[in-house]
Amino acid sequence: MLDSVLFYFFGGVAVLSAVLMVTRRNAMHSAVFLITTLMATAGIFLQLRAEFLFIAQIILYVGGIMVLFIFVIMLVRLDVALHHVRFRMQKMVAVLVALALGFEVLAILYAARRLPGQGLFISEITPPDKLPPNSEELAKSLFSAYLLPFEIASVLLLVAMVGAVVMAKSKKGAEEQ
């Protein structure tokens, strides 16, 4: 019972904030509603007993990426940006992507109708208290089975960081000379 209540709450908040996010005129308001969407999603993770994903979502997405978004919104002079030439086909691409996504969602719902009341197909259901701690499970699989993708991802992040520093620095270096 509690599970249902929480699920409907988190899900409702997520959907409502997502709708609000895409309909706001003010970029900062959109950012704030994106934050609430992400936190509601984190709540759903928590409900699925994936507590590490929950806190990772909060720390990384909300505490890191959203702060970055907000910085960019603050720093970029939006009135000047609006006057720059943009990609003119944006509306068409958006419509296409939305249609594709909508089709996918409908396909999933259709596939799920064969299991009424149970949602998607799950191989085996472990009772919650028998589940091993999410952090340990994640660590075990990341560092053994999925070690290579993990290392590649970290190298990618390192390259991105170094690239960002180099790009920012070279401009400043040129100015000072």
């Binding site: 720093l75 970029v76 002079r77 000047v80 940006a81 720059h84």
Partner: protein, 376 residues
């Protein structure tokens, strides 16, 4: 206190050169000083000081007062070191009159002036440290200054604007227990200076905030006319107490501290050492205060012969000069004050170029300006 910024050359990312206005009301300008900073990001590219908010027309008032009536006005210029102002003025008029204060008066004047130097430097240290973020030295400095002000109050009844000296000597005899009070203060003060040094001198954050900040070379100092601890910290050993002794300074042994780099840290060290040396002067002076009259042979109505005189002393903030022109009447024709803070402030632009905005506050502090003196 709100700062306004005007954006020129606005770009997409909002990176532009802007003019930042600091003051006239600001906790760190030590008075009503308005500083316009031209910033490039965080770096200061140029400055302009707007002064005059405390201009009271002191020099004009002097033309309509007798010499004795004007004496209390000079205290209000550098209100942090009123006794020094009084000393310079009284000695300048005495020069005009060709009179001399008797030896006893000269010695007591020296003691009070040196105590005032310590008090002025204590105010400087407390507020400078507070600007850089050290909250505690302010209270310790004011605690010591309180003792000095108590001595002043016992001597002449006032703590801040003392009007302690008269033209020709002193009005009040040193009160009973004057030597004891001064001696007790000086004996205690060495320990206190050590306290301040312990808190700040070796502190790496303090050094990081003051080393190489606001560097002024010796040539620049001389070219700009900077004087006092600023000049001495840049390496020029020039102190009027030794170069052109006045009052009773030629009788005492003391050192002139000199710095090497001319940065804020050196100015800090120079002023700390000056406090020590002032203390030594006081201790030497109270050992032998000569007996005798405290007022020289100066009439009740002062009518100096027509002429002009320039007399300068080493005030705590620098060289304080009085240029008096007499036309033979009881009121001076012209009194022109050469305030050390006014001339030192001109070095501000040179010192602050290229520094970060956070250093501006430290540099204003290290100049040790008093707006009463700058604006008169």
């Amino acid at each position: 206190m709100r700062e306004e910024g005007t954006n020129q050359n606005a770009t997409l990312l909002g990176a532009d050169e802007l003019v930042l206005n600091m003051g006239p009301q600001h906790p760190s300008t030590h008075g009503v000083l308005r500083v316009k900073l031209k910033l490039d990001g965080e770096r200061v590219r140029g400055t302009e000081c707007v002064i005059g908010y405390l201009h009271r027309g002191v020099e004009k008032i002097a033309e309509h007062r007798t010499y004795q009536q004007f004496a209390p006005y000079v205290d209000r210029m550098d209100y942090v070191a009123a006794v020094s102002n009084g000393l310079g003025y009284c000695e300048a008029v005495e020069k005009l009159l060709n009179a001399e204060a008797p030896p006893r008066a000269r010695v007591i004047r020296t003691i009070l002036t040196e105590l005032q130097r310590i008090a002025s430097h204590l105010v400087w240290l407390g507020t400078h440290a507070l600007d850089i973020g050290a909250l505690t030295p302010l209270f310790y400095c004011f605690r010591e200054r309180e003792e000095i002000l108590k001595i002043f109050e016992r001597y002449c009844g006032a703590r801040l604007t003392t009007h302690a000296f008269r033209i020709g000597g002193l009005q009040y005899e040193a009160y009973d227990g004057f030597e004891k009070d001064v001696e007790r203060f000086c004996k205690d003060f060495e320990r206190r200076i050590q306290e301040y040094m312990d808190l700040l001198t070796g502190n790496s954050i303090w050094i990081g905030r003051t080393r190489n900040v606001g560097v002024l070379s010796a040539a620049d100092c001389i070219a700009l006319g900077a004087s006092g601890p600023i000049l001495r910290a840049s390496g020029v050993k020039w102190d009027l107490r030794k170069a052109q002794p006045y009052a009773a300074y030629d009788q005492y042994q003391f050192e002139i501290p000199v710095g090497t780099n001319g940065d804020t840290y050196d100015r800090y060290l120079v002023r700390m050492e000056e406090m020590r040396q002032s203390r030594l002067i006081c201790l030497q002076a109270i050992e032998r205060i000569p007996d005798g009259p405290i007022m020289g042979k100066v009439g009740k109505v002062l009518k100096p012969p027509a002429g002009e005189v320039y007399h300068s002393i080493e005030a705590p903030k620098g060289i304080l000069g009085y240029y008096l022109v007499s036309d033979g009447t009881t009121q001076p024709y012209r009194v022109r004050v050469r305030p050390p803070s006014f001339v030192n402030l001109q070095a501000f632009d040179k010192m602050v170029r290229g520094h970060l905005v956070a250093d501006v506050v430290a540099i204003i502090g290290t100049l040790d300006i008093v707006l009463g003196e700058v604006d008169r």
